[in-house]
Symmetry: C2
Subunit: 301 residues, 2 copies
């Protein structure tokens, strides 16, 4: 049976936006696709620039120790991409090659390197902020290629995807006010592109039974909101943007204090950039010449 | 003892170009650093655009099967970053968390996913070209965040770095002529930025004893050239750009033929973009205001 997900994926490939690569959720991107993505990205960059954000890009790979300190494996163990490499002490090169050729698992020849893929743009930032924040706190604009080990046939659930985040660190009241202001702005930015966007209270996909308690707390404290837009399903719309209030979670893990010495709070807002492009293509069509003029103009086409 | 490498790394951090992250060869990049990198990148994009290249970006993660078919593990086993993920069948989540907290290796809880990091921009391209090329062949302009598992204190030997490649596929004489033309152009582009650049015959860092034969053949056939510039050592200058003639290696592995049905040949040229920025900063200094006007202008500063 051909599903709406298959139809969208096929359309993205046939209309020259994506190149299939053999792995689920891993696609090459053509200039045609990236022009839309970068056009929207520029709108997010503008917001950060006007607010005086420090713009930083971290590579897609990070120190494994950061995920340990952040407690990532407690909440999202299945999403982490751990990086392993061949070291001669693990076995001979000729045996490794035979194993690779046989097509099996070669784990026994590899050792775990002190690195993981970055599941989100903001993780490597926190340890760089250890210590006392300046008065008023700090604001960052972060871009990265994020990875989550969740193979799917949903073109809006990529394993490797571009994420654009803004992160605010500071006193609790400043951070909460910033997050609340962004919720309205995110809804407005996506609505202005002709998308059927709405703001929803949300939870993270915490793992296992313990995770259900974390999710219930997240809902009760209203820590996470998302702007969702229907892409391949009206009944299960896709989150294009999320707003997360961390309270002192990261400040505690990475020893970040406000100017007056108290534990800082933090919040982040993040856009999944490919999802924004997919929502635009699904809403306005694969033929860019028939997109509403104001949408074309907004994303610089 | 403080080495020239330490001095450069410290300078990059102190002058606000890089953010240290705890892992060797993994640095955050500030807007100040990326402005130079993107300025040079735009020059490379211009060359491809004028030649009619198809511009494509692949994610930093790719199908593991591609490296097997390309014979990558035979030549460079230690450079590959293999990606592994937790699956509940491998052990309980609580046991995994204990292991993570203890700080040891958690490999036994993980399984090898069918994914690796991309060691170069061009690998995922070849399988997308399987079949018959159009008359005249094809030309691609590729960008990616590449990964090589080689921790080093040399700031010019990053584990995660941006690579900008052009790839030509077609008839042998066309491909060789294209590679030769690029060798001169690469030398000229870097020389025009005031860098002490020279072209050298080179070899890849093939693994082990068998690798010495491959390297000898590469030299004898003049398959690889590099443009090198001194960064932290006059006697061991760093390759900023390399030109590789693959003969029919990738066409054979991925069944790519020319329009008349013969095996295609391929060649790639690649810039290590951070290395270009490092060479510029080392040559002209950390204070961009005193850079030669023509260099500032060339990279759009």
């Amino acid at each position: 049976m051909t599903t709406p997900r298959d139809v969208l994926t096929r359309g993205l490939v046939d209309h020259g936006y994506w190149i299939a690569t053999g792995a689920p959720g891993i696609f090459g991107r053509t200039a045609r696709f990236n022009a839309i993505l970068e056009g929207f990205d520029a709108l997010v960059i503008d917001v950060g620039r006007e607010a005086g954000a420090e713009r930083v890009e971290f590579p897609p790979v990070m120190d494994r120790e950061i995920l340990r300190r952040a407690g990532f494996m407690e909440s999202f163990p299945e999403l982490c991409g751990s990086i392993h490499g061949y070291r001669a002490a693990k076995g001979s090169h000729l045996d490794l090659i035979d194993r690779v050729e046989a097509g099996g698992d070669w784990t026994e020849y590899l050792e775990q390197l002190p690195l993981t893929l970055s599941p989100a743009a903001c993780y490597p930032l926190y340890p760089s902020c250890t210590g006392r924040l300046p008065a008023g706190g700090r604001l960052f604009d972060l871009s990265t290629f994020a990875f989550r080990a969740e193979p799917s046939d949903d073109p809006a659930r990529l394993q490797a995807f571009r994420q654009h985040e803004n992160v605010r660190l500071g006193a609790p009241e400043d951070v909460r006010a910033w997050r609340d202001a962004w919720s309205g702005r995110g809804l407005e930015m996506l609505g202005a592109l002709g998308l059927d966007a709405r703001l929803e209270l949300a939870t993270d996909p915490f793992f296992g039974r313990g995770g259900r308690l974390l999710a219930a707390n997240q809902l009760a404290e209203e820590l996470k909101f998302e702007v969702v837009v229907p892409i391949t399903s009206e009944s299960s719309p896709t989150a294009l943007c999320s707003f997360n209030y961390h309270e002192d979670k990261f400040a505690r893990a990475f020893d970040i204090t406000t100017a007056d010495g108290g534990l800082a709070h933090s919040a982040c807002i993040g856009f999944g950039l490919e999802r924004v492009v997919l929502a635009l293509l699904e809403t306005h069509g694969f033929d860019l010449t028939v997109w509403p003029a104001r949408v074309r103009e907004a994303v610089g086409l």
